[in-house]
């Protein structure tokens, strides 16, 4: 890659202790890891608080593992060439425990933000009895849960946000759900729905393993 500014999309996984970081923590983690790996980052023009140009396709919720979540990095190459394999080797070496870039591809120049291109995401949930709970909850008809924000209380119907699901034994379900700027499925609301409507044990819900396997960009698995 040679040009003045170039975009690269990184696909990252997070496991172990890193799963328990909030989205802002992950942004900070990537900024520092990229700095340690000496990546030639492009910085925003803000006079008071310039930041490296990083865009996550989706915010990553606390307690959710990822396997290949996209993250777009804008580089300021200034005519220099970047060897992606070597740069990635350095980057993977500089992460704290639990985070790793598993793949990459060249980003698209200009216009559309990575976030706007997200349409859906594929997940896997593991918890005792989750198969039956999912089946019962998404048997047909609306699935309503209350979303309590600080001063706002909304009722959300999750049914249209589950696009497909498969059971894999009693304690594991894989499913595709809406994600991104509209129709996004929040996993915390999903767990509430499974407890409320599907008879999932509350403790099992609290201890569930949540994995985002991949994201759909422009309707295709990325």
């Amino acid at each position: 890659m040679t040009a003045d500014k170039e975009r690269i999309i990184l696909f990252y996984e997070r496991r172990g202790a890193a799963v328990w970081l909030a989205h802002l923590d992950m942004m900070r983690l990537f900024e520092r890891s990229l700095a340690r790996a000496d990546w030639p980052l492009s910085w925003t023009e803000d006079a008071f608080n310039p930041r490296p140009e990083l865009v996550f396709a989706l915010p990553v919720g606390l307690g959710i593992e990822t396997r290949r979540d996209p993250l777009e990095v804008t580089l300021a190459l200034d005519g220099q060439a970047l060897d992606p394999d070597r740069a990635l080797l350095c980057l993977n070496h500089s992460f704290p425990a639990g985070v790793r870039v598993v793949d990459w591809k060249e980003g698209k120049a200009g216009s559309q933000s990575l976030m706007a291109r997200v349409t859906a995401a594929r997940y896997r949930l593991e918890a005792e009895g989750i198969g039956a709970a999912f089946r019962q909850t998404f048997a047909g008809g609306p699935v309503e849960v209350v979303r309590q924000q600080k001063k706002k209380r909304t009722v959300v119907d999750l049914a249209p946000r589950i696009l497909s699901f498969e059971e894999d034994g009693e304690d594991r379900v894989s499913f595709t759900a809406g994600a991104g700027s509209s129709g996004h499925l929040r996993l915390d609301l999903l767990l509430d729905a499974l407890v409320l409507h599907g008879g999932l044990n509350r403790n099992a819900a609290q201890g569930a393993r949540l994995v985002r396997l991949f994201v759909f960009l422009d309707g295709e698995p990325a």
Partner: protein, 628 residues
């Protein structure tokens, strides 16, 4: 299966705020599980380094970074960390009968060989008890069995831990870089040789800086004051000498510090440039206790900076000390650092700048990346009171510095004051208001084009607390009612839309004064307050004065026994400890303060405070003066 794969652990983390406080996994965190537990148990030491406050506070502290790195250098020592759980996690641990565990491997505190508490403020005492209790360790040293860990404490307030004496097996007075590895080596010897706890404590009593509280007995007079402190064990020296690292350049610096994933109080790489202080402000315990003043070599600091930048990825770098503008090579250092920090968008920040050495060219260079506010700490509002305190800043200095700052674009001013200083009158408090108004008038009088648009002034006031090993250790503390009156006077006088005024809570200032000059009888008070639910007392929202008031009924005279003025002949609970400054010197300074007389700094001439006996740093023969 590691703990992250267990549903019960996930459920625990999901139920609390900021679960990453408890998980570890940070960059440069050490995990020796693969090798360490295969070693002969008698040839290894498992050490829990604890800070009795939340993760975000403890991880902002350089001591934790330094000791963690030093102990983990040895393959046969595994040092893990543990911090105080927040209320939500604490409740879950208790509900589910789970022990408090370490971050790296999730080991219960009771399963360690040694637990070290790093203590920086007295209001952390109840958190110490809570951590020990949650960790499964008996609170009282005398009740610990041969299987329980050795509990040791250290840090800046180790110069008087008498109120906590019954809870600690050992205390390290002074600096830990060399002493702690020596103590750990002694622990390995203890295990190999099958020593009992008592035999071990006797063996480490010989290490300079180590104080075994149980080896001393304290007798009290009828009125409650200390009558006598005497050793009751053959291994106990009559006086405990602090541990000093004479050449600061020999004190290890972590080049791969832990880089937390969550937001801390201070998110930055730090370099300690100086230790101790030459100014002799009469209220300051740290300044006296960490004498002699010692500098780090400039070239080494520049090299260290390079490592930190490469190894952390932080966007801010801090130069730490008690008075950074006193660093003799500051300008050279900053000029060498700026070419390293600026291209990487790293902000260089210098806290605790002393007003009279403020160099604007330097400050402007530093501020190019991101400008912070201008900070002055006059402490007192009148020259008379500043002289009493020996804080050598004049009004002319402040006005001149402020004027230059304003003309160079600074528009935020922060001022620190201390209320309740010895001999303070209403006029002195009024002096604060007058000074602030003068600074604002200075701004207003400058032509609009020559300065920024809007001035913001923050005035921060705390309450004077008499501290051991300072000239003011004989002083009284004013009452809570007097604090409230002064604060009201100040708040009223500072009413201006450009001024924001922040102050500390009175009752916790009173408690701090009680604990700071306290004796062993307070252990029962601390224990009762803890049993009644006191925890994380340093946090305003968690501090409950009524619990402490009730507990202080155990002591005739209560809080006022400890906040009273002390007669010159009084035996202090800390008299058997020695940090360098002599009682004679401090008494001389106390008497001078009563006459409003100042004393020179160590830069001007040696005041023979007692630390010259160490022959280190800035003291005559110490080397710094000659090379500076």
């Amino acid at each position: 299966m590691n703990r992250f794969e267990q549903p019960s652990y996930r459920a625990l983390l999901r139920g609390v705020r900021k679960p990453a406080r408890y998980t570890g996994g940070e960059l440069h965190a050490v995990d020796k599980s693969d090798s360490f537990f295969n070693y002969d148990p008698d040839r290894r030491v498992h050490f829990a380094l604890c800070f009795p406050d939340l993760y975000e506070i403890g991880m902002s502290n350089l001591a934790i970074q330094i000791l963690y790195a030093i102990l983990n250098r040895d393959s046969h020592t595994f040092c893990e960390r543990c911090f105080a759980p927040d209320f939500d996690m604490r409740a879950r641990l208790r509900e589910n009968r789970l022990a408090l565990t370490s971050l790296e491997t999730g080991t219960a505190l009771a399963d360690f060989d040694m637990v070290g508490m790093s203590l920086h403020y007295e209001l952390a005492y109840t958190a110490v008890l809570e951590m020990l209790d949650l960790g499964g360790i008996p609170l009282f040293s005398s009740l610990r069995s041969q299987e329980d860990p050795i509990v040791i404490a250290g840090g800046p307030i180790a110069c008087n831990l008498e109120p906590m004496a019954p809870f600690f097996d050992a205390i390290l007075l002074g600096e830990g870089e060399e002493a702690l590895p020596e103590i750990v080596d002694a622990l390995k010897r203890k295990k190999r040789e099958g020593q009992t706890r008592q035999e071990f404590l006797a063996s480490i009593a010989a290490i300079t800086g180590v104080y075994i509280p149980s080896f001393y007995e304290v007798d009290y007079l009828e009125d409650g004051r200390v009558g006598r402190i005497a050793p009751v064990h053959a291994a106990a020296p009559p006086r405990i000498e602090k541990r000093l690292v004479a050449d600061l350049n020999k004190a290890a610096v972590p080049l791969r510090p832990l880089v937390p994933n969550i937001e801390l109080v201070h998110d930055r790489m730090v370099m300690e440039v100086l230790r101790g202080c030459a100014r002799g402000c009469r209220f300051c315990q740290a300044g006296f206790a960490y004498r002699p003043l010692r500098e780090r070599d400039r070239d080494t600091l520049v090299e260290t900076a390079g490592h930190l930048i490469r190894n952390t990825g932080y966007e801010e770098m801090g130069l730490l000390s008690l008075s950074t503008t006193d660093y003799s090579q500051l300008e050279n250092l900053v000029r060498a650092l700026l070419p390293m920090t600026e291209p990487r968008h790293i902000n260089l920040s210098l806290p605790s700048l002393r007003l009279d050495a403020f160099d604007f060219e330097l400050a402007k260079e530093i501020a190019r990346t991101r400008r912070a506010g201008l900070t002055f700490a006059p402490e007192a509002g009148t020259q008379r009171l500043r002289d009493v305190v020996n804080k050598n800043i004049t009004e002319e200095d402040m006005m001149e510095a402020a004027r230059s700052a304003f003309l160079n674009g600074w528009d935020r001013l922060k001022l620190y004051f201390m209320l309740g200083l010895p001999t303070e009158t209403d006029q002195d408090v009024e002096g604060i208001i007058v000074l602030v108004r003068k600074l604002i008038a200075l701004w207003d009088d400058l032509p609009r084009e020559s300065r920024s648009k809007r001035l913001r002034v923050t005035v921060s006031s705390s309450y004077f607390i008499p501290k051991p090993f300072t000239p003011f250790q004989w002083s009284k503390q004013i009452t809570v009612e007097e604090m409230a009156a002064k604060q009201e006077q100040l708040a009223h006088g500072l009413r201006d839309r450009r001024v924001s005024f922040s102050w500390n809570a009175f009752e916790s200032a009173e408690l701090e004064a009680v604990l700071s000059r306290g004796d062993r009888r307070l252990a029962a008070v601390i224990h009762q307050a803890w049993e009644a639910g006191s925890y994380l007392d340093a946090w305003y929202e968690h501090f409950d004065a009524s619990r402490w008031q009730a507990a202080l009924e155990l002591i005739p005279g209560g809080a006022s026994f400890y906040t009273r003025a002390r007669p010159l002949e009084e035996i202090f609970p800390w008299d058997h400890l020695h940090v360098g400054v002599t009682k004679e010197f401090l008494r001389g300074e106390w008497e001078k303060s009563g006459r409003g007389e100042t004393s020179p700094s160590c830069y001007d001439c040696c005041s023979v405070c007692g630390c010259q006996d160490y022959g280190a740093g800035l003291c005559p023969g110490g080397g710094t003066r000659d090379s500076g």
